[in-house]
């Protein structure tokens, strides 16, 4: 995390210096590309010093795109259900056993579950072992399958990044 913040600030500094030195059109696309290039070069350079950080950045990027995909697919599902006359939804509350231990991990996981349309985290039990999730689409009332989907999707990828 510290490395990430340092790299972030360094990339911003480099971008501003780059546009002061070199005469190229200054707009959002070129600035974003310069920033990403600087960040990429810094990420390559860290290979010899901090191996875990080197491995984590691709995980973060792939997790971001996975989350974006889930968000859009679930939104389209809910939107389709709203504009067609029959409700296809089978809602239910599932008790998701947590592998995440610390408060930060549980917070991020609950927020990600809430952000995906169709699932809403309602409450965490007092011993922080169980997360109660309200889900709209439980296919054939198969609660275990939905639990495995969340555990193998969000939780596994999140824990790979934080640990």
């Amino acid at each position: 995390m510290k490395t990430f913040i340092v790299h972030f600030l360094l990339s911003i500094t480099f971008t501003s210096l780059f546009f002061r030195m070199v005469e190229v059109p200054y707009h959002a696309l070129s600035a974003a590309l310069t920033f990403l290039a600087a960040f990429f070069v810094l990420w390559l350079c860290i290979f010899f010093f901090n191996r875990s950080y080197f491995k984590k950045i691709p995980l973060v990027v792939s997790f971001f795109f996975y989350f974006l995909k889930e968000l859009i697919v679930a939104s389209l599902k809910v939107a389709y259900d709203i504009i067609t006359p029959i409700h296809y939804m089978k809602p239910g509350v599932i008790a998701l056993p947590l592998d995440a231990n610390t408060d930060a991990e549980i917070t991020i996981l609950a927020n990600l579950i809430s952000l995906t349309p169709g699932t809403l985290s309602i409450d965490v039990s007092e011993d922080k072992k169980i997360l109660y999730v309200h889900a709209i689409y439980i296919i054939d009332g198969d609660i275990e399958r939905l639990k495995m989907e969340i555990k193998n999707g969000f939780e596994k990828k999140l824990l790979a990044i934080t640990r």
Partner: protein, 131 residues
């Protein structure tokens, strides 16, 4: 060149507006409180995200890009927290679940907190009134 930028940004903004309209219809159409919460808040997040992205593409300036990234970041941070807190307050105040909802796994926790909705339990057991 300019017209392409306009067309792409217009497509983004239209998609965002369509999501917002559909989520507004959903507030009226969906069967119960929890489904509304979980379906609506995020559709609104996605809609606003698309609209802001469209604006960024149209203006193509660094200042506006920074602002729109900040807007999207704070939307992603705040909207799930708000949805979670409202849903938690709702089940503690015995807001009813839809009758098709499967709440078998949630029942022990509800009983523990004395927040069992009245359709699933005898009315004599509960001190509170049904709203």
């Amino acid at each position: 060149m300019e017209s392409w930028v306009e067309i792409v940004s217009a497509i983004f903004i239209y998609i965002g507006v369509i999501f917002l309209v559909i989520s507004s219809v959903g507030i009226i159409r969906l069967p119960d409180f929890y489904i509304r919460m979980s379906a609506i808040t995020k559709a609104a997040t996605l809609g606003i995200g698309f609209i802001v992205t469209g604006i960024t593409i149209y203006f193509n300036e660094v200042v506006i890009m920074n602002k729109s990234i900040t807007i999207i970041l704070f939307m992603l941070l705040t909207s799930p927290v708000a949805a979670h807190v409202i849903a938690r307050a709702a089940f503690r105040n015995r807001v009813l679940f839809w009758e098709k909802t499967i709440i078998e796994e949630f029942k022990p926790y509800l009983k523990e907190h004395g927040a069992m909705p009245e359709t699933n339990v005898d009315k004599a057991d509960l001190p509170g009134k049904k709203q």
